[in-house]
């Protein structure tokens, strides 16, 4: 058992729903108790979908257990076919139905429905949402994709499939459109985009393409590998998020197809926006990157190599992709954070004391609590991160969108200088947050923010760190904490006052560094001198 407060991924059948809801003409019969229908509202509310997800829940109850749950499944599957007349169905069990072992696949087969029925085995007690989406897509492709004549035989140029976008994916709708535009601009035709927008019939034609473009390895790598093995289709390894990665992607496609690398899009503004002097203040901003592995890896590269930020933390919640995260973390010189434990993520962020978080909806809340701005760059996301406007994160336009996304939460350059110059202005203070963003907490505590210990905790974040440490109750950490308590140096009033003059978003880091510096040298009282000694020591 594992105590969970918030989760980054749902159960695997929600992944299957993301595939089914993204597609057309496919229906999912899910053996599940009352209540599992909650998942519908993820789609109808977060994505504002105007149709119910194509899912029939069998809704068995306690009184049905041990008697006729199998019959309930059969009649639900039969009625679902008759009502919705899908081109194909997928059938499976949610976590509870998995325990009663009714074998939805076998039961559906016995119904002898006139359309393909693909059984799904999604072990709820071992696997999670992304895995469920990947497995579902893989099983569908395996069951439906036939050998086919290559469309490019007509001599009109190479043909690709775009694989990976689903319902409820972070910016999948617009990424798929942007990458299609990019490919077509190179002279590559698109055969099928799947799962999003595809019908089961379209999946039968997948093999007619020359190669596959994998946008989200979490979802499409399994299917792409199978298509490579079975139908000889190579697939793209580069996820085109950011300027460098999009350039790499274009080169990869050019190499696969023999097409020339086209001139760069003229509406790509990111490189100039980032080089323009107004962006100088972004240099070395300390960012913590966390999300699904694909987005985290891509965003770390954008952050360091395209924005000029410093990556001070890198992590992902999907363990399946732990290896590339570990490798990348090594390259960035940070500890990899491979966990889906929200409290651990919060503790790691508090510890790293970044100036900005690039994370998920959950890190937005961590940021709110710690007073650190956050840009959402990965699922899970909430309704406000599913915009009405066209806003991909892939391709050239995606890069433009990312520049805006990463700059918007920050205090602007000159404003930052003014804040540093006049630290004691009671109205214009860093704790009020960036002046172009409204909606901050009212001025409570602004007059004397430093005196309020709760506020201090919120600013500097030892509370969640301590909480998570307690929770893990790791003996080493506990011993370390004890040692720290014994030797904790004391801040003099003057030292404490000087600390307040350090900008709010780096103050936590400064406090910790100074205390570490003092403790290591056996200094018991932290004066203004100690503070600046520590600053000089840690400056690189």
């Amino acid at each position: 058992m594992k105590l969970t407060v918030w989760t980054y991924e749902g159960p695997p059948h929600v992944g299957a729903m993301r595939v089914a809801t993204g597609m057309k003409g496919l229906h999912y019969v899910l053996h599940a108790p009352q209540g599992d229908t909650y998942a519908d509202l993820l789609f109808t509310m977060i994505e504002r979908r105007d149709h119910r997800p194509p899912v029939t829940y069998t809704t068995f109850q306690a009184r049905d257990l041990g008697s006729d749950t199998a019959d309930i499944f059969k009649s639900a599957a039969k009625e679902a076919y008759e009502r919705f007349k899908p081109q194909a169905m997928i059938v499976g069990a949610s976590c509870t139905a998995e325990l009663i072992q009714d074998d939805p696949g076998g039961l559906a087969k016995a119904l002898d429905l006139p359309v393909p029925v693909v059984p799904l085995e999604l072990p709820s007690y071992q696997r999670k949402e992304n895995w469920g989406a990947s497995e579902t897509f893989y099983q569908l492709v395996r069951a439906l994709a036939h050998p086919a004549e290559k469309l490019s035989a007509d001599g009109d140029g190479p043909v690709a499939n775009i694989l990976g976008p689903t319902a409820l994916g972070f910016r999948h709708r617009d990424d798929a459109a942007e990458i299609r535009r990019l490919l077509e601009g190179m002279g590559v035709r698109v055969n099928v985009t799947a799962p999003m927008g595809a019908t089961p019939k379209a999946l039968t034609r997948l093999a007619a393409a020359d190669f596959n473009v994998v946008l989200y390895p979490e979802i499409a790598e399994g299917a792409a590998r199978w298509l490579e093995k079975t139908h000889g289709q190579p697939w793209t390894r580069t996820v085109p998020i950011g300027v460098h990665a999009t350039r790499d992607f274009v080169e990869e496609v050019a190499a696969l197809t023999g097409l020339p690398v086209p001139p760069e899009a003229t509406d790509l503004r990111f490189p100039w926006w980032s080089r323009s002097v107004d962006s100088t203040y972004l240099t070395g901003k300390r960012v913590f990157v966390y999300g699904d592995a694909t987005h985290a890896l891509a965003m770390a590269r954008v952050a360091r190599d395209e924005m000029g930020f410093e990556v001070v933390g890198l992590g992902a919640y999907n363990r399946e992709f732990a290896r590339p995260i570990r490798e990348a973390a090594k390259a960035y010189g940070v500890e990899p954070l491979i966990t889906d434990d929200y409290l651990e993520v919060e503790a790691a962020i508090a510890e790293a004391a970044p100036e900005m978080i690039l994370g998920t909806q959950m890190e937005r809340h961590i940021g709110k609590r710690l007073g650190i701005p956050c840009a959402v760059i990965s699922a899970p996301f909430h309704v406000q991160d599913h915009p009405a406007r066209y806003s991909p994160v892939m391709g050239w336009e995606g890069a433009n969108v990312l520049f805006d996304t990463l700059v918007h939460p920050l205090v602007m350059g000159l404003e930052e200088h003014l804040l540093a110059m006049f630290r004691e202005d009671f109205e214009f203070s860093d704790e009020a947050g960036p002046s172009h963003l409204g909606g901050h907490a009212p001025a409570a505590g602004r007059t004397a923010p430093a005196e309020d210990p709760a506020r201090r905790e919120a600013d500097e974040g030892p509370a969640p760190a301590a909480r998570a440490a307690e929770r893990r109750a790791a003996p080493a950490a506990a011993a370390g904490a004890d040692a720290a308590v014994l030797e904790a140096p004391v801040w003099t009033a003057a030292g404490e006052k000087e600390l307040k003059k350090i900008p709010f978003f780096v103050r936590g880091k400064a406090r910790r560094n100074t205390e570490t510096y003092a403790a290591e040298r056996g200094i018991t009282e932290i004066t203004v001198e100690t503070l600046y000694d520590a600053k000089a020591h840690f400056a690189r």
Partner: protein, 427 residues
């Protein structure tokens, strides 16, 4: 409309009930944790379940609460399913860790889920064992919020019923108001009762120290319509339930208060003195909103068991015409006073086959459809006007001062549609 029409003799009390089974588009009882954990400030709710349970709570609540919540899920893994002995050990370890981290917690609810029920993990024994370990500081109780046994608000019923056996015995003649109410509503209703001289206790209490007593002179007044099991458990402890309509709208609130006043011998002039001003305010405020609701037809999908009392309010005080009133579960004894007040005509349905019910709804083309979040946008896209049912559970809607807000929840979708009419046409 101002003065509700005289009650029809039997109203819908004898109406046949359309019972259906099929796909239920409703939450399970775990969802009640979302408001219960805020109501009971020293309680923690630990769901023993699957990743699905955690995801449900987050989806239902995550939107609203992002302080560290006083609930969590002990997510069962493969090895917990293999051996129940290990599962119990794991549970004890997680609870010990949780209580060590949250010393402010004085009541812990172990909440059963579909998977824990199916594998027959005995949470009542676990609760006893853990109570012994952590007494006297923490008391540990258990109930099931599983979808195979409970629908949405029935989770609160199961939770409160689980508290009944540990209530202390009392001989005092007291009124116990039962049901988790928003603080503002609770303060208003209890304030009026106390002003009339009625001694009031509350279940659930905001803190463990305020736990009410129960005995033969306890009179129970349900503030929520979905608390049948809790009422039954209290009756078995000797208490008597006062039948009454529920405190929605001016009429319902008055009838609800009157049931208590009559039982406790409150003189009519005191009752009038306490209620006259808020009654007048409520009538006036509701009448203003009711103008836009009068004559409009109404279709309620089953959700929280509030459907019947709400249909009564909307029919009698706002002039709406219910076409179908769906409820996940119909407790005849508790609903009788409500059903009598609803004019004959609507279909009363219990349980659900959502596809068939959607067919009926499309056929009826009601002016307003009250339904869950999974159905609302799809129906709007078909041109229907909807009101999300969940908002009725998460908004203060009981009592006099909230009566017009309650009506307003139904008027707003119509007003919005009217404002955006041009937008629609442009499409």
């Amino acid at each position: 409309m101002n003065a509700p029409a005289a009650a029809p003799a039997r109203g819908c009390a004898d109406a046949p009930v359309l019972k259906q089974r099929g796909q239920h588009e409703v939450f399970c009882g775990l969802t009640g944790i979302v408001w219960l954990h805020r109501k009971m400030q020293d309680a923690f709710f630990l769901v023993v379940g699957s990743r699905t349970c955690a995801h449900l709570l987050q989806s239902a609540a995550g939107v609203m609460i992002f302080a560290e919540p006083r609930f969590g899920t002990a997510v069962m893994e493969e090895k917990d399913l293999a051996g129940l002995a290990d599962a119990n050990e794991e549970l004890d370890r997680e609870v010990a860790r949780l209580l060590a981290r949250r010393p402010d917690i004085r009541q812990l609810f172990l909440v059963g889920s579909c998977p824990s029920e199916v594998i027959k993990l005995d949470l009542s024994r676990a609760a006893e064992r853990l109570s012994r370990q952590h007494a006297p500081h923490v008391r540990v109780l258990n109930y099931s919020g599983s979808g195979i046994e409970t629908t949405f608000t029935q989770g609160e019923d199961a939770c409160l019923a689980a508290m009944v056996p540990i209530l202390p015995e009392t001989d005092a003649k007291e009124l116990m108001v039962v049901g988790a109410l928003p603080d503002v509503v609770e303060d208003q209703l209890v304030g009026m009762l106390r002003e009339m001289g009625v001694p009031v206790t509350l279940l659930p209490a905001r803190r463990r120290d305020e736990t009410p007593g129960v005995g033969p002179d306890t009179r129970v007044l349900l503030a929520q319509p979905f608390l049948g099991d809790t009422a039954g458990a209290l009756e078995r402890r000797g208490a008597t339930r006062l039948p009454a309509p529920f405190p929605f709208g001016e009429e319902g609130t008055t009838a609800w208060l009157r049931a208590a006043a009559a039982e406790f011998g409150v003189p009519e002039e005191i009752f009038d003195r306490v209620t006259a001003a808020p009654r007048a305010r409520a009538r006036k405020a509701v009448a203003r909103v009711a103008e836009s609701l009068s004559g409009k037809s109404l279709f309620l999908f089953p959700d929280s068991q509030l459907e019947i009392p709400l249909a009564r309010f909307l029919a009698r005080e706002c002039g709406m015409v219910p076409v179908e009133i769906g409820t996940p579960f119909l407790h005849r004894g508790i609903m009788e006073p409500e059903l009598r007040l609803i004019p004959e005509g609507p279909t009363i349905s219990e349980g659900q086959d959502v596809d068939l019910q959607l067919d009926r709804c499309r056929e009826a083309r009601p002016d307003i459809t009250v339904c869950g979040l999974g159905l609302a946008n799809p129906l709007e896209a078909e041109g229907m006007t909807t009101k999300w049912a969940i908002e009725l559970v998460f908004t203060p809607v009981h009592g006099y001062e909230q009566a017009a807000d309650l009506a307003g929840l139904f008027a707003r979708p119509l007003a919005r549609k009217a404002k955006l009419a041009g937008l629609e046409a442009a499409r």
